[in-house]
C-alpha cells in the first residue's frame, strides 16, 4: 500500500532509475514544488494529508490508464506530512522509446492526480493563520483557525 504515497523526501533520480530501461530513452518528468506564497500570502510551511487507501487505489488506476494508453513506464510519488518551501510534493516520471508518448503520459498522470487523488494541503502562513487550501476557490477566504 505504499507504492505511491511517501512520508520521505522524493528522490527524483531514484524514480527515473526505476522506469528508465534499455528500450526507454525518452524520460519526461513533472515535479510539483512547494511555493512560498498562495494568493499573495507568505507561506512558511505546509502539511499534506490524504485518504491513503483511496489515494493508493486511485493512483494505481491512473497509472494503469496511462500505461494502457501509451507505450510508457510510469513512476508516481506523492509526499505526505510536513513539507518546507521548495520541497517536491509530487513527482511523475514517464519513460518511453517515444518522446511524444512520454510527454503526453506524464501530463495525463499529473492532471489526473490533481483532479482525482484525495490529498489535502494545510498551509501555515507568516501572519500566523492556517488554512486548508481549496483550489476551487479563486482567492483565499478569510482565515480559518485550525480545528474549527
Amino acid at each position: 500500500m505504499s507504492a505511491f504515497l511517501t512520508h520521505e523526501p522524493i528522490d527524483l533520480a531514484a524514480l527515473i532509475r526505476r522506469v528508465s530501461g534499455a528500450d526507454r530513452g525518452g524520460i519526461a518528468t513533472f515535479l510539483g514544488l512547494v511555493r512560498n506564497h498562495q494568493d499573495g500570502r507568505a507561506v512558511l510551511r505546509l502539511e499534506y494529508s490524504s485518504y491513503e487507501a483511496m489515494a493508493e487505489a486511485e493512483s494505481a488506476r491512473i497509472v494503469a490508464e496511462a500505461t494502457g494508453r501509451w507505450p510508457v513506464a510510469i513512476a508516481l510519488e506523492h509526499r505526505l506530512g510536513a513539507l518546507e518551501i521548495g520541497d517536491a510534493a509530487v513527482a511523475v516520471v514517464a519513460a518511453s522509446a517515444h518522446r511524444a508518448a512520454a510527454f503526453e503520459a506524464c501530463r495525463y498522470v499529473i492532471e489526473e492526480v490533481k483532479r482525482r487523488v484525495p490529498v489535502w494541503k494545510k498551509e501555515f502562513y507568516a501572519d500566523g493563520s492556517v488554512e486548508w487550501v481549496d483550489p476551487t476557490r479563486m482567492a483565499a477566504p478569510i482565515v480559518t483557525a485550525p480545528g474549527q
Binding site: 499534506y48 494529508s49 485518504y51 506523492h78 510534493a89 490533481k114 487523488v117 487550501v133 485550525p146 474549527q148
Partner: protein, 92 residues
C-alpha cells in the same frame, strides 16, 4: 457511534470517513451510520447533515467516494460500504 433511523424494516450499516475541513467541522474522522435500505450516497449525505453536529455545513454536492473510488451522489450504497466525503482536492 451509530446515527440514523431505527424504524426501518431492512437497514444497512455504513462507515463514513471524513477528512481535512470536514473532519475538523465534525470533530471526528469517521461515523458509523445505519440507514433504511435501499439508500444512495445522497441519502448518506442528508443523514450526516441533519444528525452530526458541525456537518450541517457540508456543501450541497461534495465530492464522494464509495469503497475507495469516486462515486456520484446518485450511486447506491450497500451494507458494509466505506463511504467518504472529500473536501476539494489539493494534491500535487
Amino acid at each position: 457511534m451509530t446515527v440514523g433511523p431505527s424504524t426501518s424494516a431492512r437497514t444497512l450499516t455504513l462507515k463514513v470517513l471524513l477528512f481535512a475541513t470536514y473532519a475538523e467541522q465534525a470533530g471526528r474522522e469517521s461515523v458509523v451510520l445505519t440507514l433504511p435500505d435501499p439508500a444512495t450516497v445522497a441519502d448518506v449525505l442528508h443523514h450526516l447533515r441533519s444528525s452530526v453536529p458541525g456537518l450541517d455545513r457540508l456543501p450541497i454536492q461534495p465530492l464522494a467516494a464509495v469503497n475507495q473510488a469516486h462515486a456520484r451522489l446518485t450511486a447506491p450504497v450497500r451494507d458494509g460500504d466505506e463511504v467518504a466525503f472529500l473536501p476539494p482536492l489539493a494534491g500535487g
